[in-house]
């Protein structure tokens, strides 16, 4: 038997009524009303996001992961914890892909306590390693919403005003064990302009509704794993910056990558500053990025210089954040037939989407893909290769 004893068998698990997902509505089509509403909201997301709004591109996000008893539930396979951590790994990657000059930190909460898994940092690798390690965590006790939020604002409140302060809570439990009144904390969060969003894994909890409404975040509850993923991906995109957030100039360094060879006499091997604190990791190396201000060496970008505190990025990173400012226009919805120009599949849905500039038609799936990931219409890339902007 290669299975752990505590993991129950498939037939011992919850009784599922898989056939009930398919529901016939009045007209006889197999589309549940709720799904219809969901589809509408999905579309809405695409259309809504296309205003000319100021987006907070420098983000500081704390992800709070519930590790309480309820994460052992098997309704996500193999259990809630493993499934969430897996999804979070892809989330972390996408997050840094879309927001290269942002930072992220992980917090876990269990047994009425909150612990920091990783500090706020701009390096995805460290977080992913931590997430992989966290799979073996024993899920025990109740979570504490208060303690986790409190821990998160300890660091967030020191972040400069022009960046966005965000907390994303993955909450599986329906109860929270708090040392003090959470309403006071919500007020503090509001005054600190911290945006708290919650993804619930089981059901709608009142305190989360209040929390997210007061702090301007979003609150969603998952239906299944794919829906969970979708909801997580919502948080990849930077939120609109609040109009009251201050504007300031930020000093940034753009270090060149110097490549040195062993044959080169001048090259001296040196440690990367980023690896000083971690015991393992890369040892001595020759080349790297050198801070233009103090010449500290780093092997990876983006990073905040440990010596002089300068934000070090590379030019492509900034360029990547650019599409958030000039998003692709929403495609117009119309009923028609034909083939999708992106996936070449037959258009079977009741509506298709047309790019207002080039007139290309797409199915709803491709439409979402283009807007969420590609950020440009595949049919009219301008020859010089830069991203075309629909203005």
């Amino acid at each position: 038997m290669d299975e752990e004893p505590e993991r129950t068998k498939r037939w011992e698990g919850g009784y599922e009524r898989t056939w009930e997902v398919l529901k016939e509505d009045e007209s006889g089509s197999l589309k549940a009303t709720v799904e219809e509403i969901l589809f509408q909201s999905k579309r809405k997301r695409v259309t809504e996001s296309h205003g000319q709004v100021r987006l907070g591109m420098m983000r500081h996000l704390h992800v709070v992961i519930d590790c309480s008893r309820t994460m052992d539930d098997h309704d996500l396979k193999p259990n809630r914890l493993t499934a969430s951590l897996k999804l979070l790994e892809t989330f972390v990657e996408d997050y840094f892909d879309q927001n290269p000059i942002s930072q992220l930190g992980l917090i876990t909460t269990k047994n009425k306590r909150a612990e920091k898994l990783t500090d706020l940092a701009g390096n995805p690798k460290k977080h992913i390693v931590a997430l992989k390690k966290a799979v073996d965590t024993v899920c025990i006790g109740e979570p504490s919403l208060y303690n986790s939020l409190h821990l998160a604002i300890q660091t967030l409140k020191h972040m400069p005003g022009h960046t966005s302060r965000e907390i994303l809570v993955i909450l599986s439990s329906l109860t929270t064990c708090d040392p003090a009144n959470i309403c006071e904390l919500i007020k503090t969060l509001k005054s600190l302009k911290v945006r708290v969003s919650v993804i619930g894994l089981s059901a709608e909890v009142r305190v989360c509704t209040v929390l997210t409404r007061e702090t301007g975040g979003s609150y969603h509850v998952i239906l299944d794993e794919s829906h969970f993923k979708e909801l997580l991906m919502l948080h990849v995109k930077p939120p609109p910056a609040s109009s009251s957030s201050e504007c300031s100039l930020i000093r940034m360094g753009f270090p060149q990558h110097t490549v040195a060879y062993l044959s080169d006499q001048d090259a001296k091997p040196s440690f990367s500053m980023a690896h000083l604190d971690s015991s393992g990791g890369a040892g001595l190396s020759l080349g790297g990025y050198f801070c233009p201000q103090c010449h500290a060496k780093y092997t990876e970008l983006p990073v905040e210089c440990k010596v002089c505190g300068l934000t070090l990025v590379s030019a492509p990173h900034l360029a990547r954040s650019f599409h958030h400012l000039f998003p692709l226009q929403a495609f117009t919805e119309s009923p028609a037939e034909g083939f999708c120009q992106a996936c070449q599949g037959e258009l079977k849905d009741k509506s298709i989407f047309t790019c207002p500039i080039c007139g290309g038609v797409f199915c709803s799936e491709c439409d979402l893909f283009i807007h969420d990931s590609l950020h440009c219409c595949p049919c009219y890339l301008i020859p010089d290769g830069t991203i075309s902007v629909c203005h």
């Binding site: 009784y15 509403i37 909201s41 109740e142 929270t176 064990c177 089981s202 909890v205 009142r206 969603h220």
Partner: protein, 739 residues
């Protein structure tokens, strides 16, 4: 928006309307047009009351117009301002006198008020200015009656504010203003309880429309208002009252014998005055004052005050001897009358006049504090009732309570078994009486037990954009043990354990608040004790806090407050309460305060009670309602009341769990309101605990998805244009389920 309901212009104060509201108004209008009575059931939280008011206001305006004919016709739209509506409550809630309003109990306030405002007290003041009176009442009496209350809508606080500004007594102002108010809102008792109705409601116009809202319990209110319970304490206090009366008579005889003579002469004349009033149809009939006695003079045996007091003493002694029994006695009213005649030679006739005679005596003796005389009033009312009605009442004397057979605590229950007696004058007098509530199913039983003929009976469903209620019938535990609260399995360990399991599992998956109802306090105590021993409570407490309703009101309101706090800040809570208790009747659990409600067992009334047995017998003989039918009806309306607590609107959602296999039977299920029944399909019958958990999980996730007003629009929420479309009108006509 302005609606056109079969030719009647109705002003509706919102931009949107639910289809069932429109349908409700339609039915209501038909009832009023037919000048008949109606029974209407509509789910709570779907805007029943606003529909009611909108239509009735519009309807009254039409009546107004017809009377005043064409000259006002042109002003029609400008007329909406001279409309008056007010709420009436007891002196306790309306008094603004600094000393009187500080008293804590309603009875004390009434008594104190009476000592300050009674007519002879005020007469005394003319000669002796030191006698204290209520200045608010004096001011009101001096000028208040000439200047009517300005048109407008008054709730209790508005009335008090107005009273303070003017220096008038709000209570008497409200009572006086009832006569020319267009809409009056007050408690049932002001109309059904004969003692109060006589004071407050008897002058209401014949053309009034009477609406009993939340009327699912109306038969019990009727019965309670006519029933009398006499204990040894009542008799002791009554004895004291009689002695006081005796002394007062002696005193007045020495000082003012003329007064007693005057009274005697008046009594010889008989109660002609009241008779004339009733014949000319000015007043609402009083069931305690039977028609026959109005035509006769007060019999000679009790005409003089001393004789009457002697008569009361004899009657009292007789009752005392009856309470000295050692076994349960049940007899009908004629039997009782025969016995009383045999033993103490009291005839039927003087008994019948007892209540009126006492009132007259109290007036003559100028006794200020009526509250002290409640015991003797009760006894005299009993005397009148017992001698007037030969049917519909029963007398049961129990020497001890069933639970404590060793402690002697004799009680004489004079119990009304026919709710139609109390409500009959209301049906007879008023043109239209509407009975409406969220849970009235099965509709046809109400006209039968209240003995009237409705012109409309309709049950409305909720049109929903999403299925926001999830009724589930749990019949088995995970180990296939049948779940039931029936007597034989009540003590069964396996059943109790499975009930505990159900609550435990639900507490893990339902967010925020869960309300659980048990069939009785005793049953709840047993089960909770057993859960504690099995460690189930401890496990539940890991998920949610537990609060328990107790018979003590202060404790319960404290528990409720903490319960709500726990729901509010995310800890989650369970409230264990009792069907037919305070929580099940009056308290709403909106949104997160109640995401699930669990009904443990079928809330049958305690069937061993002799009063209930007598009532069932009566129902069977008089109305051909089988005992079982009535018991089930009564149990199901309470169950529906309990589970209905969680859905208070269309944006709300909640799970309703019926944890008893008996609910799955057609006779039980069929008695649930239509709006709940509709959502019980074959797949939600006789579930195990596991299946319930899975279904609930699925439901809760679905309901947690964002839900906006636009999603409802056009489906369960209509604009005026949508309402007027052909298709919608056709749909609406199907909402009302005529029976």
């Amino acid at each position: 928006m302005k609606l056109n309901i079969e030719g009647l212009l109705v002003y509706f104060p919102y931009d949107y309307i639910y289809p069932e509201q429109y349908s409700y108004m339609l039915e209501l209008k038909r009832t009023l047009d037919a000048r008949g009575h109606g029974v209407l059931e509509m789910p709570s939280g779907t805007g029943k009351t606003i529909s009611l008011l909108s239509l009735i206001v519009a309807y009254q305006k039409v009546v107004e117009e017809l009377r005043k004919l064409m000259e006002y016709y042109s002003k029609q739209t400008g007329e909406s301002n001279n409309f008056m509506a007010l709420a009436l409550s007891s002196r306790k809630n309306l008094c603004i006198h600094p000393e009187v309003s500080a008293l804590r109990f309603g009875k004390e306030v009434d008594g104190k008020c009476h000592t300050l405002t009674a007519s002879y007290i005020r007469a005394q003041r003319h000669s002796d200015p030191d006698v204290p009176v209520c200045r608010f009442y004096e001011d009101f009496d001096a000028v208040g009656r000439q200047v009517p209350l300005p048109a407008g809508i008054y709730n209790l606080d508005d009335l008090k504010d107005f009273g303070r500004r003017k220096g008038w007594c709000p209570y008497y102002l409200a009572r006086y203003s009832l006569l020319h108010a267009n809409i009056v809102v007050y408690s049932y008792h002001y109309l059904l309880d004969p003692k109060i109705a006589d004071l407050v409601s008897k002058e209401l116009a014949k053309k009034s429309v009477v609406v009993f809202d939340e009327a699912h319990n109306i038969d019990n209110v009727c019965i309670d208002s006519m029933s009398v319970n006499i204990t040894r304490r009542t008799l002791d206090r009554c004895q004291g009252n009689v002695d006081t009366l005796h002394n007062a008579i002696q005193k007045i005889k020495e000082t003012d014998a003329e007064k007693l003579k005057m009274e005697y002469r008046r009594l010889v004349e008989g109660l002609k005055e009241a008779n004339v009033a009733r014949e000319t149809d000015v007043y609402l009939a009083n069931p305690v004052l039977p028609d026959e006695i109005l035509k006769e003079a007060v019999p000679g045996t009790i005409r003089t005050a001393e004789h009457f007091v002697g008569f009361l003493k004899r009657f009292l002694e007789y009752l005392k001897s009856r309470l000295r029994v050692h076994h349960v006695v049940q007899e009908s009213t004629p039997q009782f009358l025969k016995d009383i005649f045999d033993k103490v030679c009291i005839d039927r006739k003087p008994l019948r006049f007892c209540s009126e005679r006492l009132q007259s005596l109290l007036r003559t003796l100028e006794i200020a504090d009526i509250a002290d005389f409640s015991a003797v009033t009760l006894i005299s009312n009993f005397a009148t009732l017992v001698s007037t009605y030969s049917q519909g009442f029963t007398i049961i004397i129990e020497p001890f309570e069933d639970r404590t057979p060793t402690i002697a605590n004799p009680v004489l229950h004079f119990s009304c078994m026919d709710p139609s007696i109390a409500i009959k004058p209301v049906f007879q007098r008023f043109q239209s009486v509407i009975i409406t509530s969220g849970t009235l199913s099965p509709l046809d039983i109400y006209p039968r037990i209240l003995d009237f003929r409705p012109v409309t009976m309709a049950s409305f469903t909720m049109t929903l954009a999403r299925t926001c209620l999830c009724p589930l019938i749990v019949g088995r535990g995970n180990d296939q043990v049948a779940l039931s609260s029936k007597f034989e399995t009540r003590e069964d360990f396996a059943v109790i354990r499975n009930y505990g399991n159900l609550l435990l599992e639900m507490s893990a998956i339902v967010p925020d608040g869960i309300v659980a109802f048990f069939t009785s306090y005793v049953y709840m105590e047993n089960i909770v004790a057993s859960w504690y021993e099995q460690g189930i409570l401890e496990n539940i407490q890991r998920n949610k806090l537990i609060f328990i309703e107790t018979p003590d009101a202060a404790e319960t309101s404290m528990a409720l407050e903490k319960y709500q706090e726990a729901c509010e800040n995310g800890r989650g809570a369970i409230l264990l309460s009792v069907a037919r208790g305070k929580v099940s009747e009056g308290i709403d659990f909106v949104h997160h305060f109640g995401r699930a409600v669990i009904m443990f067992g079928v809330p049958y009334v305690y069937t061993q009670s002799r009063i209930l047995k007598a009532r069932l017998e009566y129902l069977r003989d008089q109305f051909q309602i089988r005992e079982n039918d009535f018991l089930t009806f009564d149990a199901m309306r309470h169950a529906a009341q309990c589970v209905g607590r969680v859905i208070r609107g269309k944006t709300d959602y909640g799970i309703m769990i019926f944890a008893d296999k008996r609910y799955a039977r057609a006779d039980k299920r069929g008695k649930l309101p239509r709006w709940i029944q509709e959502h019980i399909n074959d797949g939600s019958l006789n579930l195990t605990v596991d299946e319930t958990v899975q279904l609930s999980k699925h439901f809760l996730r679905q309901m947690a998805q964002p839900f906006r007003q636009e999603d409802q629009l056009g489906l369960s929420l209509l604009t005026l244009e949508q309402l007027e479309s052909e298709e919608m009108l056709k749909k609406i006509s199907q909402i009302a389920h005529q029976t």
